[in-house]
């Protein structure tokens, strides 16, 4: 019998679904959905302004402000670019990683956050292996918290830097967006969607600017629930067909550390979903290739494509610093600009 067979026949009033449980700090960036299109546009504009500003003047924006980078997972790109971004604005940064701190001794996230606050941290940039950890940290500390990747959930600054990269390549202006900036653009995200916070962040951002997002991958890594995450998202299992429709192709790594017992035949996977030079030439000869990294050459993407003329992978990395300058600035100046929440 289907669930619908026993659905209540007359409409019954049921308890309302809760709204946001507490007012966030206006400088926090926990989820890409916290940002309106206007907020996104403002961040893009500031990223461009800050990028071109005289480093000696830029140095005063957050002079001597204290920012903690709290990293429970290893990271190259995200950690370094946040650090460089904060330092470029004159802030003092300190890095706490799970392997060289009291976290190893069993200190909770709440206590770690309160300790950092007591040490004078004015904002915390958090990378964590558990989805939702930034909410816990924000609730405990009430400091501006920037989500630098939480479990399988989100990585909002990655979506923003991907957007900046996409805009640059489509020559649509990188300093301003509106609800129709990406109208007519199809972006395919390929691979391990299930475990990817990058995929979730992008699929919840890009359609709000008019883009169509196609998700492509095997059933084990792309469940049908994904298409219901928001408007403008569809599933296309056939990689070649997705490529033919796309101006942008975003490749993802298989997250071996999150597979939790799932067995995948890698040869089969490569045959169906590896982005090769041949495939790209045949189906998407002008598409821009993105990858949030880390890249596993020879698995989801060949070296030739990663290093090839259609690849914008290193531009993404560069854009990360500009975007993160704007996000870090917002974290510490948002309250002053907007007044008390």
């Amino acid at each position: 019998m289907t669930p619908a067979a026993h659905a209540v026949r007359r409409p019954l009033l049921t308890p309302p679904v809760p709204a946001s449980p507490f007012p966030y700090h206006p400088g926090s960036l926990l989820s890409i959905t916290d940002l309106t299109v206007e907020d996104v546009s403002r961040l893009l504009a500031r990223a461009t302004e800050l990028e071109s500003e005289d480093p000696l003047l830029r140095d005063r924006v957050l002079a001597k402000r204290r920012i903690a980078l709290l990293f429970y997972e290893s990271s190259t790109r995200t950690r370094t670019s946040f650090e460089l971004a904060a330092k470029a604005l004159g802030a003092d940064t300190t890095l706490i990683s799970s392997l060289s701190s009291s976290i190893e001794k069993g200190e909770s996230l709440k206590d770690t956050g309160l300790t950092l606050r007591a040490l004078g941290a004015e904002a915390i940039i958090l990378r964590h292996n558990s989805s939702g950890a930034p909410w816990l940290l924000e609730e405990a500390t009430r400091l501006p918290v920037i989500n630098a990747g939480d479990g399988m959930h989100q990585h909002p600054t990655q979506a923003l830097l991907d957007l900046r990269t996409i805009l640059a390549h489509l020559r649509r202006g990188i300093a301003e967006v509106g609800p129709e900036s990406l109208t007519g653009v199809t972006i395919t995200i390929v691979g391990d969607i299930l475990h990817s916070r990058v995929a979730r962040s992008n699929m919840l951002l890009l359609p709000r600017l008019g883009a169509r997002v196609l998700l492509c991958g095997p059933k084990e890594l792309l469940t049908r629930q994904a298409a219901a995450a928001g408007p403008g998202i569809a599933i296309e299992r056939d990689f070649d067909s997705a490529l033919r429709q796309s101006q942008i192709v975003m490749m993802l790594r298989i997250q071996a550390e999150r597979l939790s017992g799932l067995q995948l035949d890698l040869d089969e996977y490569k045959a169906a979903y590896q982005l090769t030079g041949q495939r790209l030439a045949a189906h998407a000869p002008t598409a821009v290739v993105l990858h949030p990294g880390p890249i596993i050459r020879g698995l989801e993407i060949t070296a030739g494509v990663a290093d090839g003329p259609q690849s914008a992978i290193l531009e993404q990395v560069t854009n990360g610093v500009a975007i993160r300058m704007a996000v870090v600035e917002r974290a510490l100046l948002a309250e002053a600009q907007r007044g008390p929440a």
Partner: protein, 431 residues
């Protein structure tokens, strides 16, 4: 023992078919006399409770609670858990065996019922079905029953092996005990912390499919059917999915003794209430889809559901203030069950008051064979709740008598304020 006379109230005793203005006299822990207003013959010397404007009903019975003793007194003790029960109008609770050590012996079963535990209301232990709840060797059902156990279960660690479950059902039938199953095929729920669906995808949390529950219920019902001649009684704990409820409905039509309970959170909340990783909305089974929630309401209203049970699962504050996927499952529920049932089942969805009270007393008593409970007929235990059915109030978790405060219902409007809870002739709670 002193006598108590409750005067001027409206007596609702669904099991006896009574709903009328009656005075009632308790003496020596039993119901001694029931009479029309001002007609009690033997109330001289009795303590008088004035129940004007109040309902007098059989004490509520929760057949699914975790009292955490022995072993985890920092979460809850039998004393604090039963104090919360009394405040919620309950006069009897059935305590699950996932204690430390697991209650798989007559010694622990007796220990839990000892007066030294300081219980405010009657505690009926439910013993483990297998040693250590490991799912292999059966415990001694006859000895456990003699020690006071009212059912067997490996709650939280479902019995997956067909052969062991078959043996459990057969042995329990011989001993005259109910088998309670927490229906979850744990092979389908590894690492999962909420219901599988669009919300779990969006939150980046691993999900438990509804089939993990319904498939095990279907398997258990198949085994009950195979053992039909032995008349086993299967009780499905905290039913949460439309599929499981449909299977139970069909089993009943086929004449099998299969019963079920639903928790208030499963007929009120959905996966959407997980909100932004609220660990007070994390329990097992998880909050399900709106269609599943609607099926629970439908099942309660149409009678396939036999009891409301809270799955009261206290945890210390620090245990819930962590990452959602690492937080323990469970919420407290003893002080909110009546208030939520009256507000939603009775007031909002128009279920008659007598039927709501029956789901909270007469039916759970019958289900576990608790003789002399769940009714206020003369001669039965003097277990009663006296409450104001009209009073609205706001629940504050900080004021809970439980040691734990983990509830998604903090700040919710409740209906029906408990004035007195009387357990075996003693006032166990007075507002």
């Amino acid at each position: 023992m002193t006598a108590i006379a409750i005067l001027n109230g409206r007596l609702i005793d669904p099991a006896a078919g009574v709903d009328a203005a009656k005075d009632i006299l308790f003496k020596d822990g039993r119901v001694a006399e029931i009479a029309g207003p001002d007609k009690l013959k033997n109330k001289n010397g009795a303590e008088i409770l004035d129940a004007s404007g109040l309902v007098i009903a059989p004490g509520l019975i929760d057949i699914h609670v975790h009292l955490r003793e022995p072993g985890q007194g920092y979460k809850e003790t039998i004393a604090t858990g039963t104090a919360a029960a009394a405040a919620g109008g309950f006069t009897a609770v059935a305590a699950m065996p996932n204690t430390i050590p697991v209650n798989d012996s007559p010694e622990i079963t007796r220990w839990m019922q000892s007066p030294e535990r300081g219980a405010s209301v009657r505690v009926f232990p439910i013993a483990a079905a297998t040693r250590g709840s490991k799912g292999d060797a059966l415990t001694d059902f006859a000895a456990l029953k003699a020690a006071g156990a009212v059912a067997v279960t490996d709650d939280g660690k479902p019995i997956l092996k067909d052969s062991v479950m078959r043996e459990t059902l057969a042995a329990a039938a011989r001993a005259g005990l109910t088998v309670i199953q927490h229906a979850e095929d744990t092979r389908l729920t590894q690492g999962a912390s909420m219901n599988l669906g669009p919300v779990s995808f969006k939150l980046g949390l691993r999900g438990m499919p509804a089939e993990a529950e319904s498939s095990l219920v279907e398997r258990d019902i198949r085994l009950v059917a195979e053992l039909r001649d032995a008349h086993p009684h299967l009780h499905v704990a905290h039913t949460s999915t439309a599929g499981a409820l449909a299977a139970i409905r069909q089993a009943r039509r086929n004449g099998l003794r299969v019963t079920c309970e639903v928790a208030p959170h499963h007929f009120l909340l959905t996966e959407e209430h997980v909100g932004f990783y609220n660990t007070h909305a994390k329990m097992n089974p998880p909050l399900r889809s709106p269609a599943d929630r609607d099926a629970m309401i439908e099942g309660i209203l149409d009678g396939v559901v036999d009891a409301i049970a809270t799955d009261h699962a206290p945890h210390a504050m620090h245990e819930k203030e962590i990452e959602f996927e690492n937080a323990p499952n469970g919420i407290i529920g003893l002080e909110t069950s009546l208030g939520l049932c009256l507000r939603w089942l009775n007031n909002q969805w128009r279920m008659p008051l007598g039927r709501v009270l029956s789901l909270l007393s007469a039916q759970p008593a019958a289900l576990l064979g608790l003789k002399g409970r769940g009714t206020l007929a003369v001669g039965s235990f003097a277990d009663a709740v006296v409450f104001d059915p009209k009073a609205e109030w706001t629940y504050r978790a900080t004021e809970s008598l439980s040691k734990a405060k983990n509830t998604p219902f903090d700040g919710w409007t409740m209906q029906g304020k408990v004035r007195w809870t009387i357990s075996e002739g003693r006032i166990a709670y007075a507002a």
